[in-house]
Amino acid sequence: MNTLHRTFIWVAWISCAIVASATAASAQTQVRVTVDRSTIWTADFQTPAAVVDSGTMLAVVAERKDWYEVIVPERADPARAAQHGFIFKSFVTKSTVAEPRAEIDAPRFGAAGFAHFGYSRFAAQNSFQAILGHPGGGIFGGGGEVRFGRGFFVNASVDRFEQTGQRAIVANGQVFNLGVSDTIALTTWAGTAGWRFAREHVTPYLGGGLGLVRYRETSNFADPGEDVDSRFRSYHVVGGVEVRNGWVATAFEVAYSRVPDAIGVGGASAAFHETDLGGIVGRIKVLVGR
């Protein structure tokens, strides 16, 4: 097991832990404040923990006669954020439909950096299978994201794929590898714009964009000019779910990309009549930021 695989597994475990904790939190009852400047009292009912306006969504921890025990929202008083307090039941109504608190609490502007790992299955799967022995492989990369308004976001990312296989001959669908090493490296710079459907903890999002793919193929015993180093425009759409817990979020996303007419003129790709360097990518992203 190489370092990349070990890292991937660790990230997967951490991501699962974040998701588990966030999912538990999101299962709590919520209430909506109906009276402006309602007070949330501390447990001694002597000191106000926070004052909230109408429309504020509060997570209910417990009930006590005429009072709800709630979590003090961060926006109301950052110093007491996540502490528990009590609000009079008459000042709130139970929320029957999950209201997007994040929509209310979400900042008007946010930024995050991210790193990601994933698996890419190429559209030219026969060609990759012929040379690498499998139709795709692991990718890694990172980037940055900026969010505006209630859901719009743009991000820029770079992905890297690199694997070494063997050169081959393909005849009548049969593949024979020749023992001459062949390294394929794909670097993709992508820009994506999309919309986040903000929720308290779980935020689905969709987007699409353009990219630039650098395709390099190098092999042993090659003369200058026999290796490949080309750039192609790519198109992609992406969808995913982001699970946030404070400043850290984990996203699971799937992207479909096309890099038309990038290959297929020679080599194994010509034998299989495969011309597209795109494919489907499954990624786990770890984001830091708001």
Binding site: A124, S127, F128, A130, I131, R167, A168, I169, V170, A171, N172, Q174, F176, N177, L178, G179, V180, D182, I184, Y215, E217, S219, N220, F221, A222, E226, V228, S230, A262, I263, V265, G266, G267, A268, S269, A271
Partner: protein
Amino acid sequence: MRGTRLRAALAAVTVTAGASLLTVASTRSISAQAESWTPPHRMLLTPERALALMTASDRHLEYVPGEVLVRFRPGVGVAGQQRALSALRSRPSPGDLRWIGDRALVTDPIERDATILAAQLNAQPEVAEAEPNYLYRISTTPNDPGFAERQWNLSVLDMPRAWDINPGANDTITVAVVDTGMTTVVRSYSFLTWNGRTTQTVSVPFAMNPDVAGARVVLPRDFVFWDGPVLDMHGHGTHVASTIGEDTNNSLAEAGIAYRVKLMPVKACVGFWEVQFVMTATGYRGFVPSDSGGCATSEIAEGIRYASDNGAKVINLSLGGPEPSTALRDALNYAVGKGAFVAIAMGNGYEDGNATEYPAAYAADIDGAISVGAVGRSLKRAYYSSTGPHLEIAAPGGDDRDGGSNGMIWQATIYRADSTPMTVLSPRFDRYAESGYEGTSMASPHVAGVAALIMSQGVTSPAVVEALIKKTALPLGASDAATPGRNREYGYGLVQPRAALRGFGLAK
């Protein structure tokens, strides 16, 4: 005892031989021999066969007189075979047939015209097909001038860099050379020969090619001369084998392409000396024609089957002739089916009418067999190299009109001056020298060697080897309109060992 049997057998053929030869060369005659000769091994080149080969040479026949290959219909038993053979005047017995795969070699000592024999047998309901036992020939023009700039052929193929990828294949690959043989012993044999005035016994020394390690020679087999060690009394087979796998990087002589493979000499062809020795032993006084000999379909087919049955992964056939033979085609299919790639010389008859030659013409329809034309050192088609739509690939074959003697293919083989027919009276085959030859016979082993290199890299399918060689060829000349990427003079172009060994990446 053996000698007695030999002489006794000859009594039966002398009449026929005499009758045949009278019309050929009246100055020749067979008389009581002055000396006797006892062959050390059971002779396969019988006096009848030697006489037939000599007759074929004299009359320019494309078949062995009196011999026909017959395939009986499925289910036909001995009784049925006997019925069919009864159509022939000599009424041969099924027990006398020599079987080569599913075909039987029928020899008729009475009717010498094999086309008549084939027609008679084809008229029988028990016979699926019958054809004359066609003769194919090795066609080269040996020359022994100076040695300057000898191996241009390996340079134009960029072999040094191909060897960077694959240095000479390995000993898991066996390449069979179905040809005049490649001597496998170091010793002398006594033969009777004609010295211009009388018959004399000569001691003929043989030696192995010093530039092919003995351990690399495996499973040699003689199908045509005798049931003993393989002897090359011509030089063609040795030259061809040297191109394929002469020892390399040993500071001796020349280099071969796949210099680590095992070589399997399969002798299916005889030349002047074999015929001369056997004919002299029969009491024949005189020289046989200098171009006596050849390679009969029966032995070629048997050799191909033997090679593929005994592990050969590549078979080289540097021979050909104008007559088609289904027996030969079936043998090729059999070999490819057994996993052997077959390289076949295209033919040297461009200036002699450019007739289609076989078995090369079959290669175009067999995935795993390839027909090979020749180019000279300037990569132009060699003047002799036959053309046609069945040509698949080109390789260096030498062309003395393109660079003189330096434009030929130079490899180690038996020293030609030691055995020039009718000039040398007591030949020797124990001395080797770099010799210049030209012909598609020389082009074919280049491709066979490259195929061996490819197979040693794990490509086990003959069809894929052929596809790889074609796809990586360097196109020469303009494509024919009907066949993009290919033409009648060069096929898909010049074989490119380095490109073939590198294969293809994903995009290029």
